[in-house]
């Protein structure tokens, strides 16, 4: 009913991924991975989660840092905070849609704690980093007892607050493939207030234009907060693929996107409003992504 003090738990602070995996194996379902804690500690204060063991991964250096490789693209450690992403010129240049997202998440204070890994592993439908990462074709790299495996961020989610990261695995980093020429993505978030708010609807659009700078060669649209998990909108993408992107076509894609989502009515917005807003934001995100491509090729 009301927020309480933290329940009792045992705190572990391994210094390596192997150490963390060992603890996860030992404590199984009684353990939770603890990174920024901005979701987890609140859930514990609400008694929604009462893990007996917290595996604090913040001492693991391998989970930190942002780097760029001309072949592989961007590598973002799971422990990278939203504030680090926001302040990174690399992110702003190579993954502007992700930058869009982190700038409108929570508050500046919370952004200094909250991590990209935590945002994905908490797996709430409105996770802001998910739609841009999905749109950019990003992959999540997981470490487990049998070694590493790679999953598209798009395939990382199972249901509300449930990811496909197994209990004996940890997310180590995100890999965003090198984005082709004449491509860009944008993320738009609709909130009730101008800051410190959850997305009512979040839409990320990625477009890659043909040499003519008009025809849509490749497109991905990802929606947040309008289904049990962040989702792609393939039908809307089909509307655009191979065609010249005009405002009318973007609007049509938006209309299609509005029919593929399955939002709920809750305190924050009604189902109908959310569907309408998917239409508007999809249109705007597609137009914004295109205009970013055009602006960058102009320069």
């Amino acid at each position: 009913m009301f927020i309480r003090r933290l329940p009792k738990f045992e705190h572990h602070a391994p210094a390596s991924v192997a150490g963390a995996l060992g603890l996860l194996k030992k404590y199984g379902n009684k353990a939770r991975v603890f990174a920024g804690g901005t979701d987890l500690l609140l859930a514990m204060k609400k008694r929604a989660l009462t893990p007996e063991h917290l595996i604090n991964v913040k001492n693991i250096k391998a989970l930190k840092g942002i780097s760029y490789n001309d072949k592989k693209g961007l590598k973002i450690g799971a422990l990278v905070t939203c504030a680090e992403l926001e302040e990174s010129p690399l992110i702003k240049e190579k993954a502007p849609a992700l930058w869009d997202a982190v700038c409108v998440m929570a508050s500046p204070q919370v952004r200094t704690l909250a991590t990209i890994g935590g945002n994905l592993c908490s797996a709430v439908p409105s996770a802001d980093t998910a739609p841009p990462l999905i749109a950019m074709g990003a992959q999540a790299v997981l470490s487990g007892p049998k070694g590493e495996r790679t999953v598209l961020v798009e395939k990382l989610f199972k249901g509300p607050a449930e990811s496909k990261v197994a209990r004996n695995e940890i997310l180590t980093h995100i890999q965003i493939p090198k984005q082709p020429e004449r491509s860009c993505a944008a993320y738009l978030k609709l909130m009730r207030r101008a800051a410190m708010d959850l997305a009512l609807v979040g839409v990320a659009a990625y477009v890659c234009l043909d040499k003519d700078n008009r025809t849509c060669k490749e497109v991905r649209i990802a929606l947040g907060a309008v289904a049990p998990t962040p989702i792609r909108a393939p039908m809307a993408e089909q509307t655009l693929a191979g065609n010249e992107i005009t405002e009318a076509l973007a609007e049509q894609a938006g209309k299609v996107a509005g029919t593929v989502c399955s939002p709920i009515t809750d305190l924050r917005a009604s189902l109908g409003y959310r569907c309408d807003m998917v239409e508007v934001l999809t249109k705007r995100a597609v137009i914004e992504a295109c205009s970013r491509v055009k602006n960058s090729t102009k320069r």
Partner: protein, 759 residues
């Protein structure tokens, strides 16, 4: 205009550095030796009989020192007015709202106290829930408050002027309904207190209190102890906005736990408890019927208002009264009929919020004025200017407005926001909303309404000010130091703010209704003059001149015509201390005596001095696709008389505007059908952030109030009264849809746009 040395200057706030650096101690920061920690078990139901409370297991838990329920109190009801004593410290026979404190525990630490709460078993029998005023007034509705025989907690029926004649003379009459939601108060610091009991049984309470005198009186009554058996000391308070006047379950429980254990007990709430179970603003349903001449001149107004206020009357009777009384300003309305009702319900108990229910009254009135102006084809600024109250105006209810800068405020605001230009061209989706408001500088609601100040002159020439007001962020401590320095002709830095302590500071009816600057300010001047008189006598005797001919300036006392006949201020002080052995005190009190004490039955009388005025223009952009409203610019032209501290005055005006943007657009306390609160977190209760507020500009219209201290009027609440209608009118101007039920959400705007466009 008088030349002042300290008054009217932007001196450094007395509490600025200590608050900005985090060094200020609030109630939650206090620690006493041997202190226990209190926690409250809250009702999960909105309306239920308490059948049994089993505390045996909790009592047996190691570290638990005492447990309190409603039965531990003497059973004496208290309330704001003698005829509305409908509250008990904690519930005895039934719970009245979700989150009501039912049992309190004191333990050696907070974890132990929480553990004890888990071990307490309360058996309830659910009762039907009253959620709205309509529910409350339905025939056969169950009674909410066991101390009252009706679900109507209070009512007011006023008739001012000749209403029939007023409507007969009207060329145009329109009727509209408006409604407003439950909103929280919005201070930063959640309720907290530390209670201690000395060996004689005397209680010391240090809490986050806005009007300690009200808390003190109500608590002593309900605890059945004389006021001398309780001392209240106020630490720093993190905002009030009318949410911290009266005592709550937390205060009563903490004192009782301290009495039972003989140890200090501190209880600190989480904000989710505040959002769920403490003071909110009344929900409102109002109907207005306005008659006007073709040219826009108002001839008559009939207003019905129903406020739903939770399970207590609280200050609701004042809210109902204010709603009716303040239809008489800021416009000249010759005839007004008013019917107001306050109902009980099983939602959180209401107090009020900044601007009191004048906020709601003005929202209705100025929305209505915008509607009829358009109907009649009269310009929005012109209709306000034409009807604006002017100086020496006698309103229909008997209220006398001595000085009104409102017409000038309207002109200034219109110019600054570019109203005229906007009529010829403006970007699509952009609009400008206009509203005015007026707020009294403290109504005399009862005979005991008064303010007092004590000055102690130290032997080094510095002065300590203690006053009955409370520094709740509005800057009262600073301005009384300014006023003292001005009268005594000493530097601002020579005046020190003393502690707010019921043993040394004198009673004050409370921090509300824009009364602090005005009432306590006049008391400060009286106290400083008292001190000045004593010093002048000392100096006059030595200088061999008439003390009345002495002036005080630049730390000197000198003859007003012979500048060479003079004495250092400090020399006079030393004469008193070191030669006469006489310490010096200045004593001052003020209660407006040439206005009428409120007549609750008729609502008639000259209710208050110092009506302050404001004209607000808000520029908005509305996104037609998402329904989102962006506030671009907010201009307020205000008449607060003589500004005492111009920077803090700006802060007050802008603070009121920003505060109400939430009420207009975002905030809403939501309940399910069983009366359970749905959004008692800052995540789901949407208060505006700085990014939700526009660029604010304040234009002062400098007037001189004949009764105000240095000609000042109150200032903190008028802007909150003009903000709602300005935003609503701006949205209408932008996209042509009028939402008459607050808050104005994007969904409501889109739905109205669709309807308008025939979709």
């Amino acid at each position: 205009m008088a030349e002042y040395s300290v008054v009217g200057k932007p001196v450094e706030r007395t509490d600025g550095r200590i608050k900005a650096t985090g060094a200020a101690k609030y109630a939650a920061d206090l620690i006493a030796p041997g202190m226990l920690y209190g926690k409250l078990l809250r009702s999960p139901l909105a309306h239920a009989k308490i059948l049994n409370i089993d505390t045996r297991k909790a009592k047996a838990l190691k570290g638990v020192k005492a447990i309190v329920t409603g039965k531990d109190f003497p059973g004496i009801p208290y309330g704001t007015r003698p005829d509305t004593r409908d509250q008990l410290p904690m519930p005895v026979t039934k719970v009245h709202h979700f989150g009501e404190g039912v049992v309190a525990v004191a333990a050696v630490d907070e974890d132990r106290a929480e553990e004890a709460l888990d071990l307490i078993k309360v058996d309830y029998e659910e009762l039907p829930v009253i959620l709205t005023a309509e529910d409350a007034m339905a025939p056969g509705a169950p009674l909410v408050n066991e101390l009252s025989k009706s679900n109507i907690a209070y009512f007011s029926d006023f008739l001012f002027g000749d209403i029939e004649k007023g409507f007969k003379e009207a060329d145009y009459i329109r009727e509209e309904t408006f409604s407003s939601q439950r909103v929280t108060v919005g201070f930063i610091e959640p309720h907290a207190c530390l209670a201690e009991v000395d060996p004689t049984g005397r209680v010391l309470l240090q809490g986050s209190k806005q009007s300690p005198y009200i808390t003190w009186r109500h608590m002593c009554r309900a605890l059945d102890i004389p006021v001398s058996k309780m001392r209240i000391v106020n630490p720093f308070v993190g905002g009030g906005f009318s949410g911290k006047h009266d005592p709550f379950d937390i205060d009563f429980a903490t004192v009782k736990l301290a009495q039972m254990t003989g140890r200090p007990v501190k209880t600190v709430l989480n904000y989710d408890e505040v959002l769920a179970a403490y003071r909110q603003r009344n929900a409102m349903n109002a109907k207005l019927k306005m008659g006007l001449k073709k040219n826009g001149q108002i001839t008559a107004l009939r207003t019905e208002c129903v406020l739903e206020g939770g399970p207590i009357a609280g200050i609701g009777p004042f809210n109902i009264y204010y709603f009716g009384a303040f239809q008489n300003v800021p416009y000249k309305i010759p005839a007004i009929e008013y019917h107001g009702k306050l109902t009980y319900s099983n939602r959180a108990p209401c107090g009020t919020v900044r601007g009191q229910e004048i906020v709601l009254a003005q929202y209705c009135l100025d929305s209505m004025l915008s509607i009829v102006a358009e109907d009649l084809g009269v310009d929005q600024v012109d209709i306000r200017y034409m009807n604006a109250v002017t100086s020496n105006w006698h309103a229909a209810n008997g209220l006398i407005i001595d000085v009104s800068g409102l017409p000038e405020c309207i002109e200034k605001c219109g110019k600054r926001i570019g109203w005229k230009e906007s009529r010829t061209s403006r970007p699509k989706g952009r609009g400008i909303g206009y509203s005015c408001a007026s707020h009294p500088s403290g109504v005399r609601l009862g005979g005991h309404f008064g303010s007092s100040v004590m000055l102690k002159l130290l032997e080094d020439g510095n002065v300590v000010v203690t006053h009955g007001g409370t520094e709740i962020g509005q800057g009262s401590n600073t301005i009384f130091c300014q006023m003292t320095a001005e009268v005594l002709g000493i530097p601002f830095e020579s005046v020190i703010q003393g502690v707010s302590d019921s043993d040394t500071t004198i009673f004050d009816s409370g921090m509300f209704g824009d009364r602090c600057t005005y009432w306590n300010g006049n008391a400060t001047i009286a106290a400083a003059k008292d001190l000045k008189r004593q010093l002048a006598e000392i100096a006059g005797a030595e200088l061999k001149v008439n003390p009345e001919e002495l002036e005080f300036k630049n730390s000197m006392i000198f003859h007003k015509e012979r500048a060479d006949v003079k004495m250092d201020f400090l020399t006079a002080v030393r004469r008193a201390y070191y030669e006469k052995g006489s310490p010096l005190y200045g004593r001052g009190y003020w209660a407006a005596t040439d206005i009428d004490i409120v007549d609750w039955k008729t609502g008639r009388g000259n209710l208050a001095h110092g009506l302050d005025f404001i004209a607000t223009g808000v520029m908005v952009d509305v996104d037609r696709e998402t329904g989102r409203v962006t506030l671009i610019k907010g201009i307020s032209a205000d008449d607060a008389g003589q500004p005492i501290h111009p920077v803090m005055l700006d802060g007050q005006v802008n603070g009121g505007s920003a505060h109400m943007t939430g009420h207009a657009l975002l905030e809403d306390c939501l309940y399910d059908e069983k009366g359970r609160v749905l959004n008692h977190t800052w995540r789901d209760y949407k208060q505006p952030t700085a990014l939700d507020t526009p660029e604010y500009i304040v234009e002062h219209v400098h007037t001189h109030d004949p009764y105000g201290p240095f000609g000042a009027k109150g200032a903190g609440e008028a802007s909150s009264c003009s903000s709602l209608a300005a935003i609503a009118n701006g949205i209408y101007d932008a996209v042509g849809v009028r939402i008459k039920d607050l808050p104005i959400t994007p969904e409501k705007i889109l739905a109205a746009l669709k309807k308008k466009e025939g979709k």
